[in-house]
C-alpha cells in the first residue's frame, strides 16, 4: 500500500459539521490555523497564481504555442531571458526547437494538466460518493459487491491501475481516434483508478449517519429514501470527500504528468506539463536545458503546493490529530 493510501485512510472518520456563514468561517479554526502557518499561506498563494495563470493563459502568454503562424523557426533554441536578434521577440524562459516560447507552452500545458486533474478528481469523487452512499445506505449484496471490488482495486497502486485502464480503453478504440480522445481517455483512466478512497470514506460516514436520530425522524415523517439520501445524508458526509479531493488533485496531476511523460497520455500536439518534460528530455543532452527544466519546475511547484494544501486541510479537518 502506498503513501497516498495511508494519507486518505486517515481522513475517513472525520465527523461532519454544519457549514457556517462567512463570519463563522472567518472566525473558524480553519482560518485561524491558516493564518498561523506561513508555509500554508505561501502554498495557497502559489496555487492561486498557478490556477489563474492556467485559466487566463490565452491573455497572459506572449504567443499561442499551438498556432504555427505565430512561431518563428528562426528563433529556435533561444536561451532564457533573451531578446531574439532576428525577430526582436523576448523569450522569458527560452524557446524550443520550433521557436515556441517555453513560458507560453508551460501556461497552456498547465491548463491541460489542471483540466485533466480536476476532471479526473470530479469523476472519481462523483462515482466514489455515489457508490459509497449506495453501499452504506442499502447494505446487503450491493455493499458486499462494491466493497469487494474496492478491495481488489486497492491491491494495485493507483498509477499502475490508471496505466492499465488507459491501455485497455485504448486497445478497444480504433487507432485513428487515439490522439483526439486522449484527454477523455486519460480523465476516465485516472478517475477510475481513484474512486475507491471516496467510496470507502462515504460508506463509513453514511453508515454512521444512517442510524442517527435525524435520519430516523425523516423516515418517520415518511420521506422517500431518495430524498433522505441526497438531502439529509449526503451533505453530512461530504467533508471527508472534499479533503480526499484536495489531496487527490495533487495525485491526479502527478498521475497525468507521469502517463504523458511515458508517452501514453497527452500527445505532442496537445502537450500537458508531462508531455513537455518528455519532449524536453531529448534536448537535455545537447545543452538546451531550459526546454526540460522549466516545465519540470512548474510541475514540481504545482504538485508541491497543492499537496501541502491538501495535507494542511486534512490535518485541520481531522479532530483526531489536534
Amino acid at each position: 500500500m502506498s503513501q497516498e493510501v495511508d494519507k486518505r485512510n486517515s481522513v475517513a472518520n472525520i465527523a461532519p459539521t454544519r457549514p457556517g456563514r462567512l463570519r463563522t468561517f472567518l472566525e473558524s479554526d480553519i482560518v485561524y490555523s491558516w493564518k498561523r502557518q506561513p508555509v500554508v499561506i505561501l502554498a495557497t498563494l502559489v496555487t492561486l497564481v498557478m490556477f489563474a495563470a492556467a485559466l487566463f493563459a490565452p491573455w497572459i502568454a506572449p504567443q499561442n504555442p499551438f498556432d504555427p503562424g505565430q512561431l518563428d523557426l528562426i528563433d529556435a533554441f533561444t536561451p532564457p531571458m533573451t531578446t531574439s536578434e532576428f525577430t526582436g521577440n523576448f523569450y522569458l524562459l527560452g524557446s524550443d526547437s520550433q521557436g515556441r516560447d517555453v513560458f507560453s507552452a508551460i501556461l497552456y500545458g498547465s491548463r491541460i494538466s489542471l483540466l485533466v486533474g480536476f476532471a479526473a478528481v470530479i469523476f472519481a469523487l462523483v462515482m466514489g460518493t455515489a457508490l459509497g452512499l449506495l453501499a452504506g445506505f442499502r447494505g446487503g449484496w450491493r455493499d458486499a459487491l462494491i466493497m469487494r471490488i474496492a478491495d481488489v482495486q486497492l491491491t494495485f497502486p493507483s498509477i499502475l491501475m490508471a496505466l492499465l485502464i488507459f491501455g485497455v480503453i485504448r486497445g478497444f478504440l480504433p487507432r485513428s481516434m487515439h490522439a483526439e480522445v486522449a484527454i477523455i481517455v486519460l480523465i476516465i483512466a485516472i478517475g477510475l483508478s481513484d474512486w475507491v478512497q471516496y467510496a470507502r470514506a462515504v460508506r463509513g460516514a453514511t453508515m454512521v449517519e444512517k442510524s442517527k436520530e435525524y435520519v430516523q425522524a425523516a423516515r418517520v415523517i415518511g420521506l422517500p429514501a431518495r430524498k433522505i439520501l441526497f438531502l439529509h445524508i449526503l451533505p453530512n458526509v461530504l467533508r471527508p470527500v472534499l479533503v480526499i479531493g484536495t489531496i487527490g488533485l495533487a495525485l491526479a496531476i502527478i498521475a497525468e504528468a507521469t502517463l504523458s511523460f511515458l508517452g501514453v497520455g497527452m500527445p505532442a500536439t496537445q502537450p500537458s506539463l508531462g508531455t513537455l518534460i518528455r519532449v524536453g528530455q531529448d534536448y537535455m543532452f545537447s545543452g538546451e536545458w531550459w526546454i526540460l527544466l522549466f516545465p519540470g519546475v512548474a510541475l514540481l511547484i504545482l504538485a508541491l503546493s497543492v499537496n501541502l494544501l491538501g495535507d494542511w486541510l486534512r490535518d485541520v479537518l481531522n479532530p483526531k490529530l489536534r
Binding site: 481488489v152 496505466l163 495533487a250 507521469t258 543532452f285 519540470g296
Partner: protein, 325 residues
C-alpha cells in the same frame, strides 16, 4: 484457519479471473487476428482454415477456456509488433527488471531503516529535521521527475554516471546480469535511487513512527532503569519490536517497486519488462499487453496472499476471531 485460507484463496482466484477476462476481451475485440496474420490477399477458405486452426470458430466460452489454459502455461502468442513469441520477449527482459527492483529494494530498506532509527533517536537534531523535510518534498515529487533531474545533474552536468541503458552485461546462459561489470554497476546507480527513493521515505517514516512509539513504552523505561546500555536498549529491545509492521510494509511494497519500475525503466531506457509494456500500450500490441497484465496481477495477488497469511500467522487476534476481518 481453513475458512480464512479458503476465503483469501478464492478472492485471489477471483482477481485473476477478472484480469484474465479483461485480457481475453482485449484479444477478442481489438481487430481480427486472422486479418492481422494473413493480410489482404488471402482467400476466404484460407481464413476459415486459420480460424479453425486458431480455434476462433469455437464458442466464446471455449475460447476463453483455451486462453486461460494457455496463460497458465505462459503461452500468450506472438507479439504484433516484433513478430516474436511474447514469452521470449518477457523472459529475456525479466533479468533487467528483477535486478533493478532487487537493488532498489535493498537500497530503500537499508537506508530507510538506518535513517528511520537515526531520526527517531536524534529527533531534535537539525539533521533529523532536515531529513524529515526533505522526505516530505521527496514524497510530493513524481518519480519520473526525480529520474530526469538525477540524469540532468549526474550525467549531463557532472558527467560522472551513465544516463541510460544497462551498460555491459554478462550472459550467464539463463540470466543476463549487469552486476558483474563496472559499467553495469555504474548504470544501475541512478535508476536504483530513482526507483527506491519513494519506498525509502515510506520505510523511514514508518520506522521512525514505530520506534518513537516503542521508546515511550514501559518495558523500555524498565530496561533503562535496569542500567542497560543505550545501545542494547535501542537496538535490541526497541528496534526488534518495531520490525513487525515494517516487514509487512516492505513485503507489500515489493509489488509497488515492480509497478513503478515501468516509470524508471522508461526514464533510463532500461531494457526491462516495464519499458516493454509501455511500448506495447503505445503501439496497441495486444499479446504483450495481455501477458504483462496477467503477470503483474499474479505478482500482486501472490504478494497480497502471502502478506495476509503472514498476518494470520503473526497476529493471534485474527485466529481468535475465527479468521474474520
Amino acid at each position: 484457519m481453513l475458512a480464512f485460507l479458503i476465503q483469501r484463496v478464492l478472492q485471489a482466484i477471483f482477481v485473476m479471473f477478472v484480469v484474465a477476462l479483461i485480457s481475453f476481451s482485449l484479444f477478442h475485440y481489438v481487430g481480427d487476428p486472422v486479418l492481422n496474420m494473413l493480410g489482404q490477399e488471402a482467400t476466404e477458405a484460407d481464413r476459415a482454415a486459420l480460424r479453425a486452426q486458431l480455434g476462433l470458430d469455437q464458442p466464446v466460452v471455449v475460447q476463453f477456456w483455451n486462453f486461460v489454459v494457455n496463460a497458465a502455461q505462459f503461452e500468450f502468442g506472438i507479439s504484433y509488433r516484433s513478430a516474436r513469441p511474447v514469452t521470449d520477449l518477457i523472459l529475456e527482459r525479466l533479468p533487467a527488471t528483477l535486478e533493478l527492483a532487487t537493488i532498489s529494494a535493498i537500497f530503500a530498506v537499508v537506508m530507510g531503516i538506518l535513517l528511520g532509527i537515526y531520526t527517531a533517536l536524534r529527533r531534535r537534531s537539525w539533521l533529523a529535521h532536515f531529513i524529515m523535510t526533505a522526505s516530505l518534498i521527496g514524497v510530493s515529487l513524481p518519480t519520473f521527475l526525480i529520474g530526469v533531474l538525477l540524469i540532468y545533474v549526474f550525467a549531463v552536468e557532472l558527467g560522472v554516471l551513465p544516463a541510460f541503458g544497462r551498460g555491459e552485461t554478462v550472459d550467464l546462459g539463463w540470466w543476463d546480469t549487469g552486476l558483474l561489470t563496472t559499467s553495469g554497476l555504474r548504470s544501475l546507480i541512478l535508476p536504483a535511487i530513482t526507483l527506491g527513493l519513494f519506498q525509502l521515505t515510506l520505510i523511514m517514516r514508518l520506522v521512525r513512527a514505530e520506534m518513537l512509539e516503542v521508546l515511550s513504552t514501559d518495558y523500555i523505561k524498565f530496561a533503562r532503569a535496569r542500567g542497560l546500555s543505550k545501545r542494547v536498549v535501542n537496538l535490541r529491545h526497541a528496534l526488534k519490536n518495531t520490525m513487525i509492521p515494517v516487514i509487512t510494509i516492505i513485503g507489500l511494497q515489493l509489488g509497488t517497486i515492480i509497478a513503478f519500475a515501468i516509470i524508471t525503466e522508461t526514464v533510463f531506457q532500461w531494457p526491462g519488462v516495464g519499458a516493454l509494456f509501455i511500448t506495447a500500450v503505445r503501439f496497441v500490441d495486444v499479446p504483450v499487453m495481455a501477458a504483462y497484465l496477467m503477470m503483474i496481477a499474479l505478482v500482486f495477488v501472490v504478494i497480497n496472499l502471502v502478506v495476509d497469511l503472514l498476518y494470520y500467522a503473526v497476529d493471534p487476534r485474527l485466529r481468535a476471531q475465527g479468521g474474520g476481518k
